[in-house]
């Protein structure tokens, strides 16, 4: 697969660049676009983004590895993010995490062999009021329990 943005995406990157006085600032939004398109940031993708914005590979990789939400390896179709931070932990978020981990037989930042699920133990996602919470890709599922998370995984398996 050739790693290249299409014309429409390149145009979008131009509008992003125009938001900032310096091109370098467009790096984070461009990495987001790249991750959306290719699912994760492989070294080739990072090199391509760097060339596109006139940045060194070292800088791009430095930024990509600093932020936890940029994936440095392929993740599952459904990326399950289970919060175990204080507010969720007080309401058994950690038990949900261990349950999911055992059920899918994967650990933190691992994915199942069929590539459908991946799991991440996330730090606070800002849903403390409806804790415990689980996020699937970009969607928040709040007020979770072990039963509810099982149902969620079952329903995701069917899609």
């Amino acid at each position: 697969m050739e790693i290249v943005f299409n014309a429409e995406e390149l145009e979008k990157i131009e509008t992003i660049k125009a938001k900032y006085p310096e091109t370098k600032a467009a790096l984070m939004p461009t990495l987001w676009m790249a991750q959306k398109k290719w699912g994760w940031l492989s070294p080739d993708v990072m090199r391509y983004v760097g060339d596109l914005l006139g940045l060194t590979y070292a800088h791009v990789e430095g930024v990509a590895t600093f932020y936890t939400m940029y994936f440095k390896k392929p993740m599952g179709k459904f990326h399950l993010q289970v919060c175990t931070n204080v507010s969720c932990m007080l309401r058994n978020g950690d038990k949900i995490y261990h349950h999911v981990s055992e059920r899918l037989n994967i650990g933190h930042m691992e994915r199942t062999d069929d590539g459908v699920f991946s799991l991440e133990e996330v730090e606070c996602m800002g849903a403390c009021g409806d804790s415990p919470m689980v996020a699937v890709n970009e969607d928040f599922y709040e007020n979770m329990s072990i039963i509810k998370v099982d149902e969620l995984i079952d329903s995701l398996k069917k899609t």
């Binding site: 900032y20 984070m28 940045l55 932020y67 932990m89 730090e123 800002g126 403390c128 409806d130 970009e138």
Partner: protein
């Protein structure tokens, strides 16, 4: 009892996020009132209102604005901090969802006061949905000509501002103002040494002001109801309303807008319906996980504003109240907090990078029952050596809760240590009496 007050940030109006409904309910009147004053007049009005920053440091907002240099040709920037990664804090999300136009109006007023042409709203990466909602609100404001190139024409003066969104990608430290600027510039989110302060050398080396989302969203109401009226809401030294995010062991968790100075017990029992199962309260963290905790027996009569919390060695922070009932394992909880800060330390300063790791390791040892009681003193000592020795406040944020829990709940930690002590301390058998009466037999 909670006194009657007017809601400033989240009034109970349906679909307020719709720009037309916002306008119908007095929206953008605050900006019109503001531009009838001079820019300095606007800053003075904010000073008069007594508004203090809502990001945790409680710095007076008007004073911060007045630090921006005047009469310079350099471009100036406003960064609005919606990184909101503090565990226990989930208030800005409500503003993005329910009252985004008021945030935009606040940015316009702040921009007018400091003559800023471009503002960046930094929203944490996890808030995908809320980034979209905020972007929609900004697009609507552009369409109406309230911001952007048509703005001057709409309001009949020569001031205009552009507002951009910047999405983070999961780094707690980016909530620190200088780290946020690094992140906006396309670098790793490394905090910078102050001085130079952002007002002198901020985004791209230009004068910059960084304000919290909640702070900026409050500003329009100051101009609608008047600074004097605003300063009368809540506690006199820390006036206004705060968004309290209540979570943990509580019957009705959520975000509640209440005047500052509200009794903590009123919030817990009256507003949030008390503790599940009518259990007793062991501890309360008053302002997000980085603030030292309050013991259950301390919370009576505590008012929720910065000045009232200070004597108890803690702070209002971001207003994220976390309640822990009597059955909570505080060692596990402290370990989780320490793990968080170890994970989020950016790694620039040795005391924080190494110290947070040590805190986590020692706490893990205590939790697993492998520690001796001097490890408790070691925890306090490591915390003391992190605090104040780092570029940004993340070091303090890691040290405060650990030290707070260990000192305020020492017996709880001692229990973990004693029950599973792996060696018998020598001095138990060294008493003279012991030696004469029973020790000989034992040996």
């Amino acid at each position: 009892m909670i006194p009657n007050f007017q809601k400033i940030l989240l009034p109970e109006i349906d679909n307020l996020s719709d720009i037309n409904i916002y306008i119908a309910n007095g929206g953008y009147e605050g900006y019109k009132r503001a531009i009838s004053l001079s820019p300095d007049g606007v800053t003075n009005e904010v000073k008069k209102s007594g508004l203090r920053g809502r990001g945790g440091a409680c710095f007076p907002t008007g004073l911060k604005w007045s630090f921006m240099p005047k009469g310079t040709d350099k471009p100036k920037y406003l960064a609005v901090n919606g990184d909101e990664s503090e565990p226990g804090s989930f208030k800005d999300r409500q503003i993005f969802e329910h009252n985004p136009q008021q945030l935009i109006e606040g940015i316009m007023i702040a921009g007018y006061a400091m003559n800023i042409k471009a503002a960046y709203i930094y929203i944490r990466g996890e808030y995908h949905k809320w980034v979209d909602l905020m972007q929609k609100a900004i697009d609507e404001a552009y369409e109406k000509g309230f911001i952007g190139s048509n703005m001057a024409k709409t309001f009949g003066n020569d001031y205009s501002i552009d507002i951009y969104l910047h999405k983070g990608a999961g780094a707690y430290v980016c909530g620190e103002e200088t780290a946020l600027m690094s992140s906006l510039e396309g670098d790793r989110g490394y905090p910078r040494v102050k001085p130079p302060f952002p007002a002198q050398k901020g985004l791209w080396g230009m004068p910059t002001t960084v304000n919290n989302i909640e702070t900026i969203a409050t500003v329009p109401q100051i101009f609608r109801i008047g600074a004097e009226n605003y300063s009368k809401i809540g506690a006199s030294k820390h006036p206004g309303t705060l968004l309290f995010g209540v979570s943990g062991h509580i019957n009705k968790p959520g975000v509640y807008e209440l005047p500052t100075g509200t009794l903590l017990t009123d919030i817990i029992y009256d507003v949030c319906g008390g503790i599940p199962g009518n259990k007793k309260i062991k501890a309360v963290i008053p302002g997000g996980s980085s603030m030292p905790p309050l013991r259950g027996d301390e919370i009576d009569g505590i008012m929720m504003d910065e000045e009232s919390l200070k004597p108890f060695g803690t702070h209002i922070g971001t207003g994220g109240i976390m309640v822990m009932d009597e059955d909570t394992d505080l060692v596990k909880l402290t370990l989780r907090i320490a793990h968080f800060y170890h994970h989020e330390s950016c790694g620039q300063c040795t005391p924080c990078r190494e110290g947070c790791g040590w805190l986590e390791k020692i706490l893990k040892r205590i939790y697993n029952g492998e520690a001796s009681s001097r490890d408790l003193d070691l925890l306090v000592s490591v915390s003391n050596n992190i605090e104040g020795n780092t570029i940004c406040a993340l070091g303090d944020a890691a040290a405060w809760p650990v030290r707070g829990f260990v000192t305020k709940f020492r017996s709880e930690f001692e229990k973990h240590v004693k029950q599973s002590r792996t060696f018998v301390p020598q001095n138990v058998v060294h008493g003279k009496l012991n030696t004469r009466n029973m020790l000989v037999e034992n040996i």
